[in-house]
């Protein structure tokens, strides 16, 4: 019993760190920029399939592929933000139409992936896919550990960049006060654009990590919508440390539920947590 629990908690923590990496982009776009990008998980899936493609075609390690393609995703993010800004933000009709827009993008991305790759599961074999470290009675699979470490690196890197660069401070400022940002001689729209593009760039890496952990198929994005929003809200919107903490919590909750109640209940865990948080404490754990 105890070793079951211990294993569940450990893999939950590892998975949770990864979930946080998936969410960090949304913490930027939704938490800081107030852009409800519900298509975020679809881009993660896109990243997974591109990593899969690169691996299948050129034998490229998926995580390397994720990093290599991140600039392309950055450009994609720029494009999407331009359309979003021109069509909705300027007109002040963000709420209904902006949401519908991203929902449409989510949808299109998922269906396009189905058309391009089929609805079957795709997986990637890495040299460490089947290796597992043994710490007493706890097994630590490398296919979970490596993504976990990369996730931590990515989150820490972004936090560092936000804290110590002019652009980072500008992004934090635009989250709070556009006027102040203008007075800092930075163009709010441009800052938002770069921040949003950054959020999409993270999905390239996150997607690569996803396919290292487990096989993927296009509709998986929908499972992740609940997770990423639950983590984002629970973590207190724009707080990256909050995102990490919330990710770990959700990861462990899901893992323990799956171990003791069966995997068919896992999708509901994150969403259930989300509903609970929204009803009880919408500011989240570390929120403003």
């Amino acid at each position: 019993m105890l070793d079951l629990l211990a294993n569940a908690v450990v893999s939950g923590l590892l998975l949770g760190g990864f979930y946080a990496a998936v969410t960090v982009g949304l913490s930027i776009s939704f938490g800081m920029l107030d852009i409800v990008n519900i298509a975020h998980p679809a881009f993660v899936l896109l990243g997974s399939f591109i990593a899969y493609g690169a691996n299948a075609a050129w034998g490229l390690d998926p995580i390397i592929a994720g990093i290599v393609f991140a600039p392309l995703f950055f450009l994609l993010g720029t494009g999407i933000h331009r359309v979003y800004d021109a069509s909705f933000a300027r007109r002040g009709e963000e709420s209904l139409r902006g949401l519908a827009f991203f929902f449409g993008v989510l949808f299109i991305t998922e269906v396009a992936l189905v058309l391009a790759f089929g609805a079957d599961y795709r997986l990637v074999e890495t040299p460490y896919s089947s290796t597992s470290l043994a710490l007493g009675f706890v097994g630590v699979p490398l296919r979970l550990l490596v993504p976990f470490l990369v996730s931590l690196a990515m989150i820490t890197g972004i936090q560092f960049a936000l804290d110590h660069s002019f652009l980072g401070r500008a992004i934090k400022a635009v989250a709070q006060d556009r006027l102040a940002l203008r007075l800092m001689a930075a163009d709010p729209v441009r800052v938002k654009e770069i921040a949003f593009a950054l959020s999409i760039a993270t999905t390239s890496v996150a997607g690569a990590l996803l396919i290292v952990i487990a096989p993927v198929e296009p509709s998986l994005g929908r499972d992740y919508i609940g997770r990423v929003f639950a983590i984002c809200v629970l973590g207190g919107m724009g707080s990256l440390q909050g995102t990490l903490l919330a990710g770990l919590i959700i990861g462990v909750a899901e893992s323990v539920t799956a171990t003791f109640y069966g995997p068919s209940w896992s999708p509901a865990v994150a969403f259930g947590v989300l509903l609970l948080v929204l009803a009880v404490r919408p500011a989240g754990l570390l929120g403003r």
């Binding site: 409800v36 519900i38 709420s95 449409g104 949808f107 189905v114 609940g226 989300l274 509903l275 009803a279």
Partner: protein, 313 residues
């Protein structure tokens, strides 16, 4: 449209449909027509909360499926007649809509939208794990007795038509009433509405409950239509995307927008599923949704108004 004209038109539609059941024998038209009419109800229901009030519901599939599974559960318990099933499906979904609204409508509209998405998945997971209604294996239901018609499909077709007429009538009534004006104020500027004396929370809850009720009612006959119901078809993503795309493409400010959107898009999809894959079908719906949202946010109704207004000059 003036009131008498409207109700006469609805009556005429009903009579035409009844006449059709006498004259047209090809069952395919009733199967396809049922689906299109179902979308009329779903799109109209969605629009009461979305277009009139400005709150997006991503979980239409959840409310629809809830109605369907309420019908399955009730049928297993006591096999009541169809109208009772429809009422029950509506009530269950309406209450869930009320509860969801009560929990989240005091927050920003965005959180309500996300909560509806969450709700859909939670419901899906609950149903998959509920063996009484078949769980993931699905449930079989008996075909309903055709009553006055010569096939069960014709009966279901006329039933769904009646539901569609009720939904459209209700939407038009709400739109033109003081409730509708209050909802529009909330949509335009919720804070200003509250400061003008509009009881925002109460009206929003009314909209969520009514919308949920109609979606559940639309879902209740579904198990009888398919005779084999499984969670993936009840919770199909097609319902979520179509209930949003149809009103947005048709036009959200009036009852006629969702009807136009559902008739056009619904029929097109019925035709297309024969020729192209369902995935490509949905891709086109998604593209149309995004295209309209960006380029023609007022929908077809809006485009028509611009054309008509332009010609007058």
């Amino acid at each position: 449209m003036r009131a008498t004209g409207f109700w006469l038109a609805l009556g005429a539609v009903l009579l035409a449909a009844l006449a059709m059941t006498e004259l047209v024998a090809n069952q395919y038209y009733y199967f396809a027509g049922y689906v299109v009419l179902q979308y009329v109800v779903l799109a109209t229901a969605w629009n009461i909360l979305g277009g009139y009030t400005g709150y997006v519901n991503f979980g239409s599939a959840g409310f629809f499926a809830l109605g369907a599974y309420s019908a399955v559960a009730l049928t297993k318990l006591s096999a009541p007649p169809l109208p009772v099933l429809i009422l029950a499906g509506g009530v269950v979904s309406g209450l869930v809509g009320l509860a969801t609204g009560y929990l989240t409508l005091r927050l920003r509209g965005v959180f309500f939208a996300i909560a509806t998405l969450a709700l859909s998945v939670v419901l899906h997971t609950l149903i998959i794990n509920w063996d009484f209604v078949g769980g993931s294996r699905g449930a079989y239901t008996m075909r309903p007795p055709p009553l006055v018609f010569d096939s069960y499909v014709k009966l279901l077709f006329v039933t769904m038509l009646l539901l569609a007429l009720v939904a459209v009538g209700a939407a038009r009534f709400i739109e033109r009433s003081w409730i509708g004006r209050g909802l529009a104020a909330i949509r335009d500027n919720e804070q200003a509405a509250a400061c003008s004396g509009v009881p925002t929370l109460r009206l929003k809850l009314f909209a969520t409950t009514t919308s949920g009720f109609l979606m559940g009612a639309a879902g209740a006959p579904f198990p009888l239509y398919v005779t084999y119901l499984d969670p993936s078809s009840a919770f199909s993503l097609a319902y979520a995307v179509n209930s949003i795309a149809m009103p947005l493409i048709g036009g959200t400010t009036s009852w006629i927008g969702p009807v136009i959107g559902a008739l056009l898009l619904g029929t097109a999809q019925q035709v297309a599923t024969v020729t192209i894959s369902s995935a490509a079908n949905l891709l086109i719906v998604g593209l149309l949704l995004v295209g309209f949202v960006i380029l023609a946010p007022e929908g077809i109704v809006g485009l028509w108004r611009k054309l008509a207004g332009g010609r007058r000059q």
